[in-house]
């Protein structure tokens, strides 16, 4: 048997980062990126040698942590999902101007088709926006090889490098061949002469922006080995990137005629315009297969006389995930004939709250309190997490879910516009992620909002990672300026229902901001014993040796 191991695409990125000698890995959980961090975290815990792996409160914090490691001269990885990059965008775009010292690789996992996300934005566009390189692998082995390469490029070009995955590759499991790992040796802190590069006051930023633009031709040149032109035969060609490349390669195995088509293979952005022009000169028609936005398609469409077919002309559906079937259809291949589809009506089996989940008890208390106060139709602002499931009927308990932390600010805004009652529902981890500044504003505003913090003590939905807000929610709430009298901590259990309804009624009736924390550990993490050790240590800490039964005379 060979020496490979099986790994997911995102895990291969984490593995390569470890092997390429990173000093620190950071991230915020989010499907489909989570396992990338978890993989490197496990490698680091097994063999620390001064390395660190740390979940951060949010993606911006994670990115800044990584930038600090880079500043100190070490290689570093930061991981997030596509919408997480919106949160880290300030840090990401500005780090293009500062540049990096130790190699900084950003793993972003996009979710075309929105399997587990609120949009299907394309991170290649954000890399372009920041004038930064983006590598796009199409196999698990490439995830590993390109990540390794991304560190080298990051250090030679002195910019952060994005490795962009999509769900299908992030969660594709395949054999992975590793290289001999490097020790985490650093370059040392940046020389004194470059200190001003990191200080983005206008005078420096103007100079650094010119430097960044001047770096673009070298960037294109250094990335060019990853983009290939295969001249082929005929005037009909294909341009492929990411999973489009993976699907096309597979089809070409089954249909050898496809392998002979002129082909532009893109795996790194920005693409050399000369390569695109050279390709377009070979063809009259080109089919573009890429995952998500028509990035390559638009570039090619602007550049030549060839007719470009893809998402914009309807050859491929405008939205959703790319599929091998879409390639077949666009290329005019006949689909195979298989068994007849079932005629029986098959209702959807939607995800639901786990049996015994505390979120259900919290929502039931809220709904009954609203009924008792004569406002059963009150609109409630929800947030991102397992508790988003309450938006589904028949519960239908929340009526807006936009992005991490939005619930609190939207409820405050609606209250300012006269909505009474105005209720926000947010989880403990989401609260730590983006709810804190919103609560500061809520407390300052003094408007009538009721904020429910559903504290299940972990990041439930993504696999029960530790919540940064663990055991600290009350202190955080008080610290943001909510008066002690307006903070209640409840236990969401059926036997507490009546008391919880009363407490919710009191909070809803209070004319200013109030916070109700519903705390009960996620039953999945409880079953797995995720917090067992933490709780034991915490108990020992709060109960000094002198007071334990054994110590008493």
């Amino acid at each position: 048997m060979d020496q490979s191991t099986l790994a997911l695409g995102v895990e291969a990125v984490g593995c390569a980062a470890f092997d390429a000698g990173i000093k620190g890995a950071f991230g915020y959980p989010g499907t489909p990126s989570t396992e990338g961090f978890e993989f490197v975290e496990a490698l680091i815990h097994a063999n620390p040698e001064g390395r660190v792996a740390q979940w951060a409160a949010n993606e911006k914090v994670a990115y800044d942590l990584a930038l600090g490691v880079s500043y100190a001269g070490h290689r570093t990885l930061v991981t997030m999902k596509h919408v997480g990059l919106n949160v880290a965008m300030d840090a990401y775009t500005n780090s293009a101007l500062t540049g990096v010292r130790g190699g900084l690789v950003l793993l972003v996992a996009d979710d075309p088709g929105m399997h587990s996300s609120q949009n299907e934005q394309d991170s290649r566009r954000l890399a372009e926006f920041a004038w930064l390189p983006c590598l796009e692998p199409s196999t698990v082995q490439e995830c590993y090889d390109y990540t390794w390469r991304a560190f080298e490029l990051s250090e030679s070009l002195q910019v952060p490098v994005m490795v962009r995955l999509v769900t299908r590759l992030a969660h594709c499991r395949a054999a992975l061949f590793r290289r001999e790992p490097l020790a985490p040796t650093g370059l040392g802190v940046a020389p004194k002469a470059t200190v001003q590069d990191w200080v983005l006051i206008p005078a420096n930023a103007r100079r650094r922006y010119v430097d960044l633009l001047a770096k673009q031709p070298r960037m294109i040149q250094d990335l060019s080995p990853l983009n290939r032109l295969q001249p082929g035969a005929g005037r009909r060609g294909v341009a492929v990137s990411g999973m489009g490349r993976a699907y096309f390669d597979q089809l070409a195995q089954e249909h050898p005629a496809l392998a002979a088509l002129p082909r532009l293979e893109v795996a790194a952005y920005p693409v050399d315009p000369q390569l695109e022009t050279a390709f377009l000169a070979l063809v009259d028609d080109v089919f573009v297969f890429e995952e998500d936005y028509p990035v390559l398609e638009e570039r090619l469409g602007l550049r030549g006389t060839a007719k470009v077919h893809g998402r914009l002309d309807g050859s491929v559906p405008r939205t959703g995930e790319l599929t091998p079937r879409q390639l077949k259809t666009a290329l005019g291949l006949t689909a195979a004939e298989g068994k007849d589809a079932i005629t029986l009506d098959l209702p959807i089996r939607a995800p639901r709250f786990c049996d015994g989940c505390g979120h259900v008890d919290a929502y039931e208390a809220m709904q009954e309190a609203l009924v008792n106060l004569g406002v059963p139709d009150a609109r409630v602002f929800g947030d991102i997490g397992c508790y988003t499931l309450a938006a589904q009927e028949p519960m239908g308990a929340i009526h807006a879910v936009v992005e991490m932390g939005a619930s609190i600010s939207m409820a405050v805004g609606a209250a300012m516009a006269g909505q009474t009652p105005s209720v926000a529902v947010i989880g403990d981890s989401t609260f730590g992620h983006s709810g804190l500044p919103a609560l500061l504003t809520a407390a300052d505003s003094g408007v009538n909002v009721t904020i429910m913090i559903l504290d299940n003590r972990v990041v439930g939905m993504t696999g029960q990672q530790p919540s940064q807000a663990l055991d600290q929610v009350e202190r955080m709430v008080l610290g943001m300026g909510i008066p002690e009298a307006q903070l209640q901590v409840l236990t969401p259990l059926p036997k507490q229902h009546d008391a919880n309804v009363k407490a919710m009624e009191a909070a809803l009736q209070h004319p200013g901001p109030s916070v109700v924390v519903f705390r009960r550990e996620c039953i999945q993490s409880l079953r797995r014993g995720v917090l067992k050790e933490h709780d034991r240590d915490e108990k020992a800490r709060l109960e000094p040796a002198c007071c334990t039964p054994e110590a008493r005379p």
Binding site: M1, S4, L6, T31, P32, T34, E35, H115, S116, S138, T139, V140, T167, R168, L169, H171, C172, R173, A174, A175, M243, R245, A246, Y247, D249, Q250, L251, Q253, E254, T323, P324, R325, K328, A335, A336, E337, G338, K339, D340, A341, I342, T343, L344, D345, L346, P347, I348, R349, A350, P351, R352, F353, C354, C386, L389, M461, T462, Q524
Partner: protein
């Protein structure tokens, strides 16, 4: 199975049933057999009792697409009868279906069970397995998945030895007894004399 053809397996069920673990066992067994194999899965909300499915494809030649097109799967293994019906159109004309008869009714509007069974039996190459009865006989509550895999293994080019190795590796951290119970379930499934219906 012809050389260098791409073979596909679809696995389906309900979150929490172990669809993804089963897919990983299949993937590892194929890889140990020396075949090129890829697995595709979707995570996220899956463990919350929703529909879950995974795909495994394999070939003698290197592969790049983890996704099987409709009508291209050779085998569908489903831990739940309704979840099997969703993927029947993924099967080739000569594809096989190995499915548990045990329903997971955690949803609104689950169709009458008789209709579900009738639709399954109308699929040529379908094997319905009474996993509930099997679990009782083996005194092993979670025998279903391994038993289905055992039955499905008839259609996969993997030796008994390799299956044993992979199942052992998968469960060894849980102790010898758990490992033995799972191998027993696998072998019981493999040995089931099951009437092929719909022929």
């Amino acid at each position: 199975m012809s050389e260098a053809r791409i073979h596909g397996i679809v696995l389906s069920g309900v979150g929490g049933q172990g669809v993804l673990s089963l897919a990983q066992i299949v993937l590892e067994a194929l890889r140990r057999t020396g075949l090129h194999a890829l697995q595709s899965e979707i995570h996220g909300m899956s463990q919350r009792g929703g529909s879950v499915h995974a795909q495994v494809c394999f070939s003698e030649a290197p592969l790049s697409s983890p996704i099987i097109d409709e009508a291209c799967a050779d085998l569908l293994i489903s831990l739940e009868p309704l979840e099997a019906l969703r993927y029947v159109a993924m099967l080739r004309m000569d594809g096989h279906l190995v499915v548990s008869e045990e329903p997971q009714i955690n949803m609104e509007g689950y169709p009458p069970l008789d209709d579900v069974y009738a639709a399954l039996k109308a699929v040529r190459g379908a094997h319905l397995v009474d996993t509930e009865d099997l679990a009782r006989r083996l005194n092993h509550r979670q025998a279903g998945g391994m038993a289905l895999l055992g039955m499905a293994s008839r259609y996969l080019p993997v030796s008994d030895d390799v299956w044993r190795q992979v199942i052992t590796q998968r469960f060894e951290s849980k102790g010898v007894r758990v490992t033995e119970k799972n191998i027993e379930a696998f072998e019981a499934g493999r040995g089931l004399v099951q009437e092929t219906v719909g022929a």
